[in-house]
């Protein structure tokens, strides 16, 4: 029983350590390609425009041809202060980076952790991590 508690603790810590956030960078070549990134209101994105301006902002609205948002605390090499309303037409976008919670990745990672820890538990002869259904 003690092993079971220990393993559950290890499992909880490992899941906490596996951050579900991923950062991806894109260089969309068309407006459709930009829309396919499925950026939504509430996402915080970093972009570089074709005028070579870097800016980070929280998206407040996604229109058919542009992002509307409010700048956040500037990152390195960004000049715009936080709190400015910005509109970035897709046509002007050269690069885009978005950080968001990756539920698929998180699910796979969680499954991998459960399988790995369970395998160790079986080898060590500990109680199963996943509770088994009660018999009839």
């Amino acid at each position: 029983m003690r092993y079971g508690t220990d393993i559950r603790s290890v499992l909880a810590v490992m899941l906490a350590l596996l951050s579900g956030c991923t950062t991806q960078s894109y260089a969309p070549t068309t407006d459709v390609g930009t829309l396919e990134l499925k950026i939504e209101a509430g996402d915080e994105i970093r972009v570089v425009t074709m005028q070579r301006e870097r800016l980070s902002f929280e998206v407040t609205e996604v229109r058919g041809d542009r992002f509307v948002g409010v700048t956040v605390e500037p990152n390195r090499k960004e000049l715009r202060p936080a709190g400015e309303t910005v509109e970035v037409p897709f046509d002007e976008l050269a690069m885009l980076e978005v950080t968001r919670f990756d539920s698929t990745g998180m699910g796979l990672a969680a499954a991998a952790v459960v399988v790995t820890v369970s395998a160790f538990a079986v080898v060590l002869g500990a109680v199963p991590v996943v509770p088994l259904p009660a018999g009839p």
């Binding site: 870097r54 390195r76 046509d91 050269a94």
Partner: protein
């Protein structure tokens, strides 16, 4: 042999320094090569695609990205062969990165392909920041360099330097934000 080891050591140190000067301010995407559908673009779209790729390339250069010669690459691999296991003992494995070579090389390649497409479509040339040279003339220079490179002629580092100089000057931009 001893001399070779010293050269390798110096190159490894240079690779390490190059890796240090490359500090991405955001993740640099690796630009893809042209796909068949893109060959149907008209002149305006081609110029737009060139400007887009050039912007990505500018970000890489502005963040310290450089091309890496095969000698530097070999030295980096050798350095990492020792560095990774040693630092792994300390619990935090370290390795020397490529200094932005992969992403910069991909951007250079895409720009060259787009310029070739522009020439093949008979599009009008645009000025560059290089005196007396438009973008199609720049392409001719690039192709000559590439031919030398493919034939294994000339000094690789010098060829890379020249290619970088040419592409740094491809686009006319405001002086305050010019490429490094």
């Amino acid at each position: 042999m001893k001399h070779g080891a010293r050269t390798h050591g110096l190159l490894a140190a240079a690779a390490l320094l190059a890796g240090c000067s490359y500090q991405p301010s955001l993740q640099h995407p690796k630009l893809p090569a042209l796909v068949p559908i893109e060959t149907t673009m008209d002149c305006r779209q081609i110029d737009h695609a060139i400007d887009r790729a050039d912007t990505v390339r500018w970000v890489i250069r502005d963040d310290g990205g450089q091309l890496e010669t095969s000698g530097e690459k070999a030295a980096r691999y050798t350095g990492n062969f020792f560095l990774v296991p040693l630092t792994m003992l300390g619990g935090a494995p370290l390795y020397v990165r490529d200094g932005g070579h992969a992403v910069l090389n991909a951007a250079d390649g895409r720009i060259r392909q787009l310029l070739q497409l522009k020439r093949d479509h008979g599009c009008p040339p645009r000025p560059t920041t290089l005196p007396g040279m438009d973008d199609l003339a720049l392409l001719r220079e690039l192709e000559a360099l590439q031919q030398q490179f493919d034939a294994g002629q000339g000094d690789e580092a010098a060829l890379f330097r020249e290619r970088t100089r040419l592409l740094d000057g491809l686009r006319v931009v405001p002086a305050a934000t010019a490429a490094p």
